[in-house]
């Protein structure tokens, strides 16, 4: 079974020892064993995700039995109140949790890998700032107070501003280097944030709408919201799976990755498009829940090591777990009231992050 014994630090197969994760590098484990171990972990994450999806359908202000929920999905009775709750409230909410969770997480992993910056979150390219700015404009200048109208404004803002950030960041001889992209994102976000907050601080109505929107929540979104953003998020996910292998080369630095035959410009453009679709769609639907994208890739990296393919795969499964868990916990803490998922995500995610940061040897990118 064991073909080659891998000693830490000296690898007879010629792979640099650092490719193996520090946390999962027991003496004498072969690469095939490692792969099995990771596949098992992947299956475990998928199982946990499914369990959380089911819990998310059952729990809420009015708990529903498992059999009733099953009936609501497959033998729908339009008269039963519980069926209506499942179909019209819990199902879109769970689907949004899945979609937005994966979208936030993967966009975070992508942007951290592409900019080689562990502090980068999906909002770094201006997604959140753009979405918030357009929502502010919609409320403050045009008087759209309905939450449903915010969706398209947020999405439009996210796309416009990300494109602007890329346009600024990619000017010049070297093109869109990671640092320039990050800095232009920060600068443009700041300008929009400043203009936005001067509007909200002078207009109480806009302030009131925005303080709710900026928390981020899965509640109160119907199936239309989910089906509107789903195509964008799915496209974004497919696109990110396509660029992932090249991200491993990009992690080595610009010049080495060019030497390995990666078309840097092309990959960066694809990453920006993917991040815009993912984070833009998710922010439009659920509001800015940036912490998922910032944290999950870090946590995942400690288990998988620096291979982006594993990181993205695990992130797709683990981010919705976090978001759904936060959403479910938010329904329970103030029962029968609710706490927004945007708040709970940070409250339950951060302690996990800190505990892991203390336990494991912290790994860079």
């Amino acid at each position: 079974m064991i073909t080659q014994v891998v000693e830490p630090g000296a690898d007879p197969a010629g792979h640099p020892a650092s490719v193996l994760p520090a946390a999962n590098r027991p003496c004498g484990a072969s690469t095939s064993q490692l792969r099995l171990q990771r596949l098992a972990l992947l299956a475990l994450s998928a199982a946990i995700l499914i369990v959380f999806c089911i819990i998310s359908l059952l729990i809420g202000a009015r708990p529903v039995a498992f059999s009733t929920a099953f009936d609501a999905l497959f033998a729908y009775d339009p008269v039963s109140a519980e069926h209506i709750i499942i179909r019209d409230y819990r199902l879109p909410r769970t689907l949004l949790g899945l979609l937005c969770g994966a979208a936030f997480g993967v966009s975070g992993a992508l942007i951290q890998a592409a900019t080689r910056n562990p502090l980068a979150d999906p909002g770094i390219l201006g997604v959140n700032a753009g979405a918030a700015f357009f929502v502010t404009l919609a409320v403050g200048l045009f008087g759209f107070h309905a939450v449903s109208s915010h969706l398209w404004f947020a999405f439009l803002g996210a796309i416009t501003v990300t494109l602007l950030v890329y346009a600024v960041g990619s000017r010049g001889r070297d093109g869109a280097t990671p640092v320039r992209l990050v800095l232009s994102g920060v600068a443009l976000s700041a300008v929009l944030g400043g203009i936005g907050s001067s509007i909200t601080l002078l207009d109480p109505l806009a302030f009131d709408s925005l303080r709710l929107w900026s928390i981020g929540s899965l509640a109160g979104r119907n199936m239309d919201v989910a089906s509107t953003v789903a195509p964008f998020i799915v496209c974004g996910l497919v696109l990110s799976l396509c660029v992932t292998p090249s991200l491993n080369a990009i992690a080595l630095g610009d010049d080495p990755s060019r030497a390995l035959g990666v078309n840097l410009v092309q990959i960066r453009i694809l990453v920006v498009i993917a991040v815009t679709l993912l984070a833009g769609g998710a922010t439009a639907a659920a509001g800015p829940i940036g912490f998922v994208g910032l944290m999950v890739p870090h946590v995942v990296r400690w288990f998988t090591g620096p291979d982006q393919r594993w990181i993205i795969l695990f992130t797709i499964l683990c981010s919705p777990i976090l978001l759904l868990a936060a959403d479910i916990a938010g329904r329970l803490v103030l029962f029968p009231g609710e706490l927004e998922a945007g708040i709970v995500t940070a409250l339950i995610g951060a302690p996990v992050l800190i505990a892991l940061a203390r336990r494991t040897r912290a790994g860079g990118l």
Binding site: N117, P118, L119, A120, V168, G169, R171, G172, R173, V179, R180, V182, L183, S184, V186, A187, L188, S189, A190, V191, G193, G194, I195, S197, S198, T200, L201, L202, P204, F207, D208, R211, L212, S214, I215, F291, L294, M295, H298, L339, E340, G342, I343, V344, T345, A346, L347, G349, A350, P351, L353, I354, A357, R358, A362, G364
Partner: protein, 370 residues
Amino acid sequence: MTEPNHNPSPVLRNRVIVRVARSGPIDFGRRVAAIRLFGGRLSMRADLRSLGAGSILLLLAGVIGTVSLASGKFPIPLVDVFRALLGTTDDNIRMVVVEWRLPRLLLAFLLGTALGLSGAIFQSLTRNPLGSPDIIGFSAGSYTGALVVILLFSGGYYATAAGALAGGIVTAAAVYLLAYRGGAQGFRLIVVGIGISAMLGALNAWMIRQADLQIAMSAAIWGAGSLNGLGFEQFWPVLLMLILIVPFVLVLARPMRQLELGDDAAMASGLNANRLRLMLMIGGVALTAIVTAAAGPIAFVSLAAPQIARRLVRAAGVALVPAALTGGLLLTAADWGAQHGFGVQLPVGVMTVSIGGLYFLWLLLREARQ
């Protein structure tokens, strides 16, 4: 093979020696003035470009400051502004210029300097252009402290300042202690900082949402950072604290450069990396704490000033003094805009992000053209 020894000739020993680099395809280094005094017993090197940029920044701050002293609801001719400063005008003009407008102007410049310095420290510590005192959770913590005071106890200026200080310092200490395991390694510090900041941010968002709209808005104005209504009674404590802290930070500037090489390299050259990092962090947090207590968490200056200054002096890394001066200029200009730009007094934090962000964008675009 040994390097030839470049002893300065005896004739030049007491003069300012300027090594001039030729412009051309080959970079011969930066123009540096070596200042030797007392027969070489006291010597220092000063980067000419930094000196030039620093003087221009100071000059600009002076010009904007003068304009700012002259403008307001009661416009005063520039001549009278100077005469008021020298004490040769009538009492009314003197009161407006010296007692009303001057402390606010001086505070804006000083607080900007403090923010620029602390930003430079944290960007050097984390070796990351996104580094700022925020990463250690100070801003989020001070906002939490202030929100608790404003929303629960409806406290005034000093109570809010005390709450912000307490919140910020407790948070920063918690982040440092949680990240400490045989030394606060830079990356772990960042991750723990993100975590704690995110938790407090969630708490803040929740408090803002629960509060009455009017109270929430006044809390948000504090949160943006504002110099409205500040006078000499706020200026003197700030000045005193800065006089105590700034020299302490500037002394650490040289070992800070060593630390930028990485922990291993710094320790190999005889540096106690963990102790230095702790001291730098204490300095940086103290600087931010002063600003937060006086004017609220003014955003973006500490993030943008070091990066803008780096581009102005074309330095390889972040530089403390140019960053401080850039911060001072940025906040002075922003405060002028916040007072007079829109007819209503906006919180200065709103303007710093707009002005600083626009200028930063322009710098990035100009850099790209070259």
